[in-house]
């Protein structure tokens, strides 16, 4: 049982130790398929046109690229064996599965290509990535969308997280891995009863106390080595299944899951050594006698003096960093990790003393269950404290992390100001739909199933007369009256009207002639000129559904030369039927029918920095894993505790003691240290969080709702574990347990 428990913990540590390798391997693959934006402008036998055709399908991101080789030596993207012909595509295995499932009905209209092959591992971020490469013979250059390349692969370094996010990652690792360490420590004490019998038998055969202890230590060492092997085997099994898992769009291949050398060596050494230390520590108050093992029943007062030393050392390690990690630029991650770990472990060292000091003062009045629990805690609170210390440490760590997250959130999460009640999406067309077709395209999109309306506007830049400097460019927006009303404040409006909003002194005067810009999409060079009608009226500014205010010249379609419209970029604000769960996908299909390369951006209230989002999501996954580990530790500890008291419980039930009394007593024995632990964890966690914020040079603010939520989750775990343990506890309480007397 010890080997299995240790093995489980070792497996989790090995997975954690594999994270850097996994991220590195994934990063290498995604970098290998990157390409420059404009390497060369002339076609050659080595050039390839590649266009972005990404889409989303019910929250799943699909990476799409359209390929048009311009010569026989055009570079193949990694993982692609041969260029797909026009109308064909090669797809990732996950996308192939999706297309062959029943769910593909609303995706097929967007991916109207015949599947002719698969993308290999080398071309995918992870096993569950949705991706395709489609062939085309009509692809042409489009600014920022279709580029000409001669090779794949990016040497540019990946996006750095920055010192504050690195600090968050380090703390998150410490907080999430400490419960695993506690779990391994707990697993090493599994099967204590049978071990007692073996030790007693050794004493009977003539071994002295010291020999028996050495035997116990050797037994623990063997079990932990066996646990390491079991853990390694479990790890090999788990890594096979990693391809089936994708979290927030991030997936890996089995071959990515390889523990980094240094952590792996550390695990291989630390687990056996700590198993021996834990065993010797647990035997310090135990007399191993020939007729059995006697655990000290007399109370020995816990000493306080050494307990604050542990967190004090942690504090000393963190002290130099209080000047601020951003000011320091870089910092020693190990110093932070050890410092925070010692602060958190300090909670575990202080908790037994606090529980003893408090329960020693508790009265035994009240119900029988309370009486039994208080007396049990007064005699030996250690077992119950050990059971909850893991969760208390995790709660303190989670509060510290949450406090830090709250403090730095403003730097990474921004309110976009987008108003999702006015529009739910913005569609940007680049070239395929120009200003002359905008109204017709908006009408088609607006009448698509699931779409309640679409307002189109065409924008281009115009150069004011006589101006040469960059600030002389102003925006000309052409749209019908309803669309203009969404972006500026206008009174009456009819086709042919022109308005001027914002710009201040730069505002052109009615009657002036401006020259339209023309980019390479529309042939490049200088565009046509246009005289602003004398009837142009000033208009007020208003915040558009994207949360921005627009300025410039605003014209209705009849007021401008169609040649101008041909040079303009078209965007549309789209309202969808939010009551229809498929509306967004139907809207995407309608957009793809107009231009498969059009960009659909769903409006949202907040926007999160990618790095911060990745850390937050990683932490969320880790927190769930940590809670599961903690729950397992608690469950095993409670059951082990009950097994050790099996005969006593059976005797009490034989006396006629109600099982509910004993159940409540068990619950009290966990709840009292738990409540005391949380009372310690909250100030400790917020204190550590404040330290981390100080290190991040941020003002301290505490999210009490989150703190309450974390404490509630911890209490929930205790209740859940109690509920799970009840069937076994009931079985252990069976008075038939007396039969073994």
């Amino acid at each position: 049982m010890t080997a299995v428990g240790v093995g489980l913990g070792v497996m989790m540590l090995l997975v954690a130790a594999s994270m850097p390798t996994m991220l590195h391997a994934r990063g290498e693959r995604t970098a290998a398929r990157d390409y420059g934006s404009a390497e060369m402008s002339r076609p050659s036998d080595r050039s390839l046109l590649i266009g972005v055709q990404d889409t989303d399908f019910y929250g799943k991101s699909i990476r799409g690229r359209v390929l048009r080789p311009e010569g026989p030596r055009a570079p193949l993207p990694p993982g692609v064996a041969a260029f797909p012909n026009p109308g064909e595509m090669v797809v990732s295995p996950a996308l192939a599965d999706l297309l062959s499932s029943r769910e593909d009905a609303l995706l097929r209209p967007r991916l109207g290509y015949r599947v002719v092959g698969r993308i290999g591992h080398a071309g995918l971020g992870g096993a569950q990535e949705y991706a395709y490469y489609a062939g085309s013979d009509r692809l042409t250059l489009r600014s920022g969308l279709v580029v000409r390349v001669t090779s794949f692969g990016s040497r540019s370094p990946g996006q750095s997280l920055g010192p504050v996010l690195v600090l968050l990652v380090v703390i998150a690792f410490v907080v999430l891995l400490l419960p695993v360490a506690v779990f391994i420590g707990t697993a090493m004490r599994f099967g204590g009863e049978s071990s007692d019998h073996r030790l007693a038998a050794l004493r009977l055969m003539g071994a002295d106390q010291r020999m028996a202890r050495r035997f116990a230590a050797a037994e623990a060492l063997l079990a932990s080595v066996f646990g390491l092997l079991v853990g390694a085997l479990m790890f090999l099994v788990v890594r096979v299944f990693v391809e089936q898992v994708t979290v927030f769009g991030v997936g890996f291949f089995t071959s990515d899951v390889r523990p980094a050398l240094q952590p792996a060596v550390l695990i291989a050494l630390a687990v056996p050594v700590s198993s021996v230390l834990v065993t010797l520590f647990s035997l310090r108050k135990v007399m191993i006698e020939p007729l059995g093992v006697v655990r000290s029943a007399t109370r020995t007062r816990r000493r306080l003096w050494w307990r604050p030393i542990v967190p004090f050392i942690g504090l000393a390690l963190l002290y130099p960093l209080l000047r601020g990690v951003q000011r320091l630029g870089s910092f020693n991650e190990y110093q932070v990790a050890v410092g925070v770990a010692l602060l958190l472990i300090g909670i575990a060292t202080l908790l037994p003393w606090i529980v003893e000091a408090v329960v020693g003062r508790l009265g035994s009045g009240g119900g029988l269950s309370w009486h039994l629990a208080v007396r049990r805690l007064q005699l030996d609170g250690g077992t119950s404290v050990r059971a909850v210390s893991g969760i208390v440490v995790a709660v303190a760590g989670a509060i510290a992390l949450q406090t830090m997250f709250t403090g730095v959130r403003g730097d990474y999460v921004q309110e976009t100001g987008q108003n999702t009640s006015r529009a739910q999406a913005q569609v940007t067309f680049r070239g395929a739909v120009d200003g002359t077709r905008a109204a017709g395209a908006a009408a088609r999109l607006g009448s698509a199933p699931g779409v309640r309306g679409a307002l189109a506007k065409a924008t281009t830049s115009v150069l004011l007369p006589g101006a040469k400097k960059d600030d002389s460019w102003v925006t000309l927006t052409v749209a019908d009256c309803p669309a203009l009303r969404e972006v500026i404040r206008i009174g009456r409006c009819a086709d042919g009207d022109v308005f001027i909003a914002g710009l201040g002194r730069r505002a052109p005067r009615p009657g002036e002639t401006v020259r339209v810009d023309a980019d390479e999409d529309t042939g490049g060079g200088r565009g046509p000129s246009w005289r602003i009608p004398k009837s142009a009226r000033p208009a007020g500014q208003r915040t558009n559904p994207l949360g921005q205010t627009e300025e410039g010249v605003f014209a209705t379609p009849s007021a401008v030369d169609p040649r101008i419209l041909r040079t303009a970029h078209v965007t549309m604000l789209v309202r969808v039927n939010t009551a229809d769960g498929d509306a967004v996908e139907r809207m995407r299909n309608a957009v793809a029918a107009l231009d498969p390369m059009a960009d659909v951006m769903m409006l949202t209230g907040t926007q999160e920095d990618n790095g911060f989002g990745a850390v937050r999501r990683g932490l969320f996954i880790g927190a769930i894993a940590a809670l599961l580990v903690i729950g397992a530790v608690l469950l095993v500890t409670v059951l082990e505790q009950m097994k050790q008291r099996r005969r006593l419980l059976a005797m009490l039930v034989a006396f006629g003691t109600r099982r509910s009394v004993l159940n409540r007593s068990v619950l009290w024995q966990t709840t009292v240290p738990m409540v005391l632990g949380l009372l310690l964890a909250v100030p400790a966690g917020t204190g550590i969080g404040a330290l981390l914020l100080k290190m991040s040079e941020k003002p301290v603010s505490i999210n009490w709702a989150a703190v309450t939520g974390i404490c509630g989750a911890a209490a929930g775990v205790v209740l859940l574990v109690t509920a799970f343990s009840l069937p076994t506890v009931r079985r252990l309480m069976d008075p038939e347990g007396l039969r073994t007397e």
Binding site: A297, S364, L648, F655, G656, E736
Partner: protein
């Protein structure tokens, strides 16, 4: 109630013509392939001390556990004051054990975290007594069993003999009708064993409490009014002590 089993007059202790307080008839109980009881029968009258004797593994503890309602037999009947224990719910049997029966085990099985006084009071509190009243009565019983000096100590801090006397006090404190004692002196030396048996049987007789004693020690069985021998899961009346 009449049964062929009770046609014989009982030995000493308890009125010979009194109906049995507790009886079990044709009891069978198996644990897996092993038959612990194979047609055992037993009765005990109020105030009677009955010793169940037999070699290890003969089924005497199982018989006692069945009679006490701790273990439900596979077949047969066990009747206590007209109530059939074999048809009672677990909750009812628990209530019966709480209010009518007392128990003494080989190693005392005192609750280690409670003081000796609280251990004795526990039996009373289980019956619904308030803590203060329970502890007052428990103190009297510790006095009777001559262990008042260990009242405040925990079981781990007293000797085996003292612990067993505390266990006897606990068994008697709730005024039970029947005490079930499983090898009550098994872990004691002869001097302490005699002391415990003297106090147990004297107190039980004074209160009119029946005692069902499981032992394989003839000296302990000598305190009984009647011996029943258990062998291979069957019972047989032994010679009077």
């Amino acid at each position: 109630m009449s049964h062929a089993l009770f046609s014989e007059a009982p030995m000493t202790g308890g009125r010979p013509d009194a109906p049995p307080l507790l009886y079990g008839v044709d009891l069978h109980k198996a644990f897996g392939p092993s038959r612990a009881l194979d047609g055992a029968s037993l009765h005990i009258r109020a105030g009677e001390v009955v010793a169940l004797m037999g070699p290890s593994g003969s089924g005497k503890s199982t018989l006692m556990h069945c009679m006490a309602g701790i273990v439900r037999p596979d077949s047969g009947r066990i009747v206590y004051r007209n109530d059939d224990l074999t048809t009672m719910s677990d909750a009812d049997r628990s209530a019966l054990r709480r209010t009518e029966f007392g128990f003494i085990f080989q190693f005392g099985q005192l609750v280690p975290e409670l003081s000796c006084l609280e251990n004795v009071a526990l039996a009373l509190r289980l019956g619904g007594a308030r803590q203060r009243a329970a502890e007052a009565k428990a103190a009297e019983w510790l006095e009777t069993l001559e262990v008042a000096d260990v009242a405040a100590k925990r079981p781990g801090e007293i000797s085996g003999g003292q612990g067993q006397r505390v266990a006897v006090a606990r068994a008697l404190a709730a005024d039970p009708s029947v005490i079930f004692a499983d090898e009550p002196t098994g872990a004691l030396d002869s001097l302490n064993g005699e002391k415990v048996m003297d106090l147990l049987t004297a107190s039980a007789r004074r209160m009119g409490t029946a005692v069902l004693l499981v032992t394989h020690d003839a000296r302990v069985a000598a305190y009984s009014d009647r011996e029943v021998v258990v062998r291979d899961g069957r019972t047989r009346e032994g010679e009077p002590s």
